[in-house]
Subunit: 338 residues, 2 copies
């Protein structure tokens, strides 16, 4: 099949690789209808994470089930499915406790930017969409593979509550979905930190009531001014750098939580500040499968439209241009169609 492969820093190619196949009886193979590029794919692209040259890349996709293993009972060939980037059996002790991203049989999509993807623990992982979804729904369904549940996880971990104030640090696709999640969870005032006009527009469309376009101490001061000196009731950290984490902790009201979902890179947590100000931290890799049924319902009934984060769509052959556009911040998030 044709699949996206990474060969080094800023070296993304569309290559011919062996088709994925059923390796375990709990696997399924999905024919990809749409995949996309994640902000976290930019870490290896930029040389910040090590890569194995020639490996496939891409963990977000939706598609149609092409083949299932002998033990797959609920998912059928022909089902249109959302593929959580993190696969789970949905029955183990951690899944039962609602933390599917710690499943004892955890797996990942590894060829989401390709023609086919192998899904482990198919019955636990996949959620079928009723019938064949309208083409207009494709972007929002694709957002359910990662960014929307991840933004949602940030909001849940931060303890967003009806009537409260939320700050969202980060204006990437996850941050924007975090705004949407905070709105949906009832936050009354949502302060989005963004310096980019097109992203500010989406943040506002998703429910942001205020935009803070400065950084660092100025950003903290702006949040304090907007919250009567108190700080925010909940802060969503959707970047993963040390600077963004510091901003998050300073924007949070004493007694509140920072919900973090950006894979930490070079973060040194300020334990003294956390202790002194009673600001906690929760979050991590999102348990996508946990949130999927609820979020799928919200997409299908038109309540949320997270697909708005896709502002560029390319055929699979354009994947290298897609990475470049995201790297240069010309695109928020790129959808790829095989």
């Amino acid at each position: 099949m044709r699949a996206t492969t990474i060969h080094g820093t800023r070296d993304i190619r569309l290559s011919e690789v062996p088709d994925p196949r059923i390796e375990k009886p709990t696997d399924a193979i999905v024919k990809v209808v749409a995949g996309c590029i994640c902000g976290s794919d930019l870490w290896p692209y930029r040389g910040e994470n090590p890569v194995v040259a020639g490996n496939t890349i891409g963990h977000e996709c939706i598609g149609v089930v092409e083949e299932v293993g002998a033990d797959v009972r609920d998912i059928k060939v022909g089902d249109f499915v959302v593929v959580p980037f993190d696969h789970c059996d949905n029955t183990c002790v951690h899944c039962a406790a609602g933390m599917q991203s710690a499943c004892v049989n955890l797996g990942f999509t590894v060829s989401g930017q390709a023609e086919y993807a192998r899904v482990t623990q198919a019955d636990g992982s996949l959620v079928a969409v009723p019938g064949t979804p309208d083409a207009s729904l494709i972007p929002s369904l694709l957002a359910l593979a990662d960014v929307m549940p991840t933004g949602w996880h940030a909001a849940v971990a931060a303890g967003v509550r009806p009537g409260g104030t939320a700050v969202v640090v980060g204006d990437g696709a996850v941050g924007l979905c975090g705004v949407l999640a905070a709105k949906q969870l009832g936050a009354e005032r949502i302060i989005a930190m963004s310096r980019h006009e097109p992203r500010q527009q989406i943040a506002k469309a998703f429910g942001a009531t205020d935009i803070v376009a400065v950084r660092g101490k100025e950003a903290t001061a702006a949040v304090l001014e907007l919250t009567g000196g108190a700080g925010a009731d909940a802060v969503l950290e959707c970047v993963g750098t040390d600077d963004s984490m510091k901003t998050a902790f300073h924007a949070a009201r004493p007694g509140s939580m920072v919900g973090f979902v950006g894979v930490p890179h070079g973060v040194v947590l300020p334990v003294g500040t956390m202790f002194g100000r009673n600001v906690g931290l929760a979050g991590g890799m999102a348990p996508v499968r946990k949130y999927l049924p609820e979020l799928l319902g919200l997409v299908l009934d038109g309540t949320i439209d997270p697909g708005r984060v896709f502002d560029m769509t390319l055929p699979l052959e354009g994947v290298a241009e897609g990475y470049q556009a995201m790297d240069e911040r010309r695109a928020i998030k790129v959808m790829l169609q095989p």
Copy 2:
């Protein structure tokens, strides 16, 4: 007055110092009925925190109001009061949000091991005990100045819930109070980590169902075995060292919280582990005043008896011996009577 002063490493003296006086109209002066030595007093005692030679030490006491400032309305001369170690106005934006330990008018008891103590923000800080409490209640009332609300804060921050499993790291007075708090908040299984038989006995009396007497990886393994491989639903970190924090994170089930109340000393938070396992951290300096009314009620009606953590009582003149006994772990917690 006679007051405890610190002059250097392991140099504690009872000295004659000027009486504290009303400095602001919101102050009160309390004649100390009982004070005590805190585990955190051992940090400067052991030379791990810097000291100013000759300064008074001691932040926990109860007593009778001797004098009030012109603006004190609710607290009266003659009231028997519990003195939270952290003083607050109980009206500012942070107090209103339930985080009195971040009060904009935050103050501290600085001569709790003495004849008199000055309390700032007397109306906000002090809680009067009805009438004159029976002598048998003195230890438990004294525990309300710090260790019991601090253990309670750990349990609340860790998210202890009815029917769940809680692990308590640390068998000092705060850890033991954490066990009592977890029991009161409904934890069904409470695993106390303790290697000291007298402390194990109190932990059991306070509600611990299991004792883990090993440390480090062995302790983690023991908790996993006791929890069917899942880890605990809530972990109370009541020490503040890097080792105890690591143990806490490893004992926690994915998706749960570590509640920390031990002042961090040399702690480097494992952000990668926290992210990967979705184990959060919350807590800090306890908002004692927030919890006092509820905890005072539980002490007065005999539901809880946190005063059991005091296993040595000395006259004020014996304070140096009290420090030595706690330093050598011959005593869990020492009460001082002026």
